[in-house]
Amino acid sequence: MKNPFVMECGNYKTRYDKDMAIFSTKRVKVRMLTLTLLAFLFPLLADSYIIGLATLCAIASIGAIGLNILTGFTGQISIGVGAFLGVGGYTSAILTSTLGWSFWIALPVAGIVTASVGALFGIPSLRLKGLYLAIATLAAQFIILFVISRWTGVTGGTSGMVLQRPSIGSFSLMSASSYYYLCLMILLFTIVYSLNIFRSRTGRAFLAVRDRDVAAQIMGINLFTYKVLSFAISSFFVGVAGALLAHYTMIVSPELYSITVSIQYLAMILVGGLGSILGAVLGAIFITLLPVGLGMFVDQFAVYMPDMQNTLAAFQELAFGAAIILFLIFEPGGLAHIWSNIKNYFKLWPFSY
């Protein structure tokens, strides 16, 4: 067998089905399977804090892929992801804690409920574009959160609700690694699903809508159907991520789903790379780990600057803003583009000219 980690210097496609394939060559397939295997094996070596962080990254990746389907691939800007996460989390909380349903039914139902709410707020997207749509989804964010925090009888109001970890039979997924495996499986499903959707008619229609919706309409794409569909599919994954997050932290309350969260998710797909599944995952990991990394950095320097710890939150906010701006100016393609640049460099390495 050929060494899977040697880059091929060219990939010439001679048939359409080769062009459409998920794994363009056998080496890519081996590499991806190795990566997946590593993701499955790593909890055996790491401690529970790191596994917890990895779980958060996986959940954020699911949400970010969902948002990227809408914003990166279909070009509809949404500043309401935070509230949609909340819809997913609260649906699951109400179904499992109040009504006593099993988590395994509540999770897809949470996704479907969020998809319906997303589709509802997606309806204006037929008439609204760009900035106007962004503001409409911002309004959705505030209205949904207002409903959640005032509908005390169902949602527990501002005090929130308590959830349980899911269980299989009598085995509860309380340990860090078991919940990590659950999130990882769902993340893999999300990745495969979204890679496949862009090999189908639906996905190509999304791309056409993004590139020029009027032109897409002239070519026979029903704008209304596909825009609402994009909102629904995207919100489904965001809702699932919300439910997973709620069962991970085991609490839901309105302030966990504020506009800040929406901005974080937008930052994920932007830092990762708009319109790239890999980018969404990389961006989710980057944005999730950024405050953790800064916290560690500040701890290191606490001896020299004791004031630093008091202003840690402000410092994190500042760094977050700076990261967004720097990526926008210097690398609009995001981490996914950096990654493909690195790969391209090594294609002809060491004779890359």
């Binding site: 914003t71 106007y132 409409a136 309004a139 959705a140 209205i143 906010e317 701006i325 609009p332």
Partner: protein, 294 residues
């Protein structure tokens, strides 16, 4: 009835400040098609700088205000040069995210420098309220209304008659045509951001005098979104009219409906209005809807 009038008056005063902040917003949108989501942080920074000058350095209020405006103008110029100019011709989402990132950066800076406590301005205006036909009006309200009105008139005249104002309108109307007529577009953008920053700072100083200054003040940056949507994103008169309408509606909704739902409606109410406007009249009261070609 008195309660209604009281709500109306406070709505008008808050609305006038909305109008002012919305003006800065519309200016930037008209000139460079950017939605400035960092506007709330500009308001916050202006307010804090002026407060620091007045309390820590004991400067007289007017001097402090002038210095604040100068600092904010420089801030606006810097923001335009460093953040927005490299993103000229970038897609909408990049510009939105850039201003959001800018907002985060400025907010972080403000929290690092000034912390989280609410601070109050020393009393600049007399405390005793004035009565107009049974309605109590505190002098702060009256003064900020007068100042805002003056500023709105000044800006209207500026846009209508001054050379720079006309150049700005030309750039807003058609960037390429304006550039080919010899207008320095980069300079116009820079000045637009400086003016928007100044206007936001004035709004911040007035709001700070009414409510005190703390970090939550930057919410106004989001509250003026309904205002500009109602008035039309590209219309200056729209921003002014929309500011008053939203201010009054918000105040009345706060007064009458808040007790029914248990509070919090006042802040959300403008966004219900946004959804209604976007459904029925997406380009607002005075905005120009565009025709689209492929």
């Amino acid at each position: 009835m008195t309660f209604f009038l009281q709500m109306l008056v406070s709505g008008i005063v808050v609305g006038s400040i909305y109008a002012l902040v919305a003006l800065g917003f519309v200016l930037i949108y008209k000139a460079s098609d950017a939605l400035n989501l960092a506007n709330g942080e500009f308001v916050l920074i202006g307010s804090y700088i002026c407060l620091t000058l007045v309390t820590a350095l004991q400067l007289p209020f007017l001097v402090a205000l002038l210095i604040t405006l100068g600092v904010c103008a420089v801030l606006g110029l810097m923001v335009e040069r460093v953040v927005l100019r490299p993103l000229l011709n970038a897609p909408t989402i990049s510009i939105i995210m850039a201003t959001i990132g800018l907002g985060n950066l400025l907010a972080g800076l403000v929290h690092m420098v000034w912390g989280h406590q609410t601070r109050v301005y020393p009393n600049l205006f007399p405390d005793t309220p004035v009565t107009f036909g049974g309605v109590l009006i505190t002098p702060v309200y009256l003064w900020s209304f007068i100042i805002v009105m003056l500023l709105l008139i000044v800006f209207t005249v500026f846009f209508k008659y001054s050379k720079m104002g006309v150049a700005m309108r030309a750039v807003a109307d058609d960037l390429q045509a304006a550039a080919s007529m010899g207008i320095n577009v980069k300079r116009v953008f820079a000045i637009t951001w400086a003016i928007a920053c100044i206007v936001a700072a004035v709004g911040g100083v007035l709001l700070g005098n009414i409510n005190g200054v703390n970090a939550t003040m930057s919410v106004i940056g989001l509250t003026v979104l309904p205002v500009v949507i109602l008035g039309g994103l590209d219309s200056i008169p729209g921003a002014i009219v929309g500011g008053f309408i939203i201010g009054i509606l918000q105040s009345i909704a706060g007064g009458y409906l808040d007790p029914l739902v248990g509070g919090g409606l006042k802040e959300v109410f403008p966004f219900f209005i946004v959804i209604l406007i976007l459904m029925f009249k997406p380009y607002g009261l005075f905005g120009k809807g565009g025709m689209e070609r492929v």
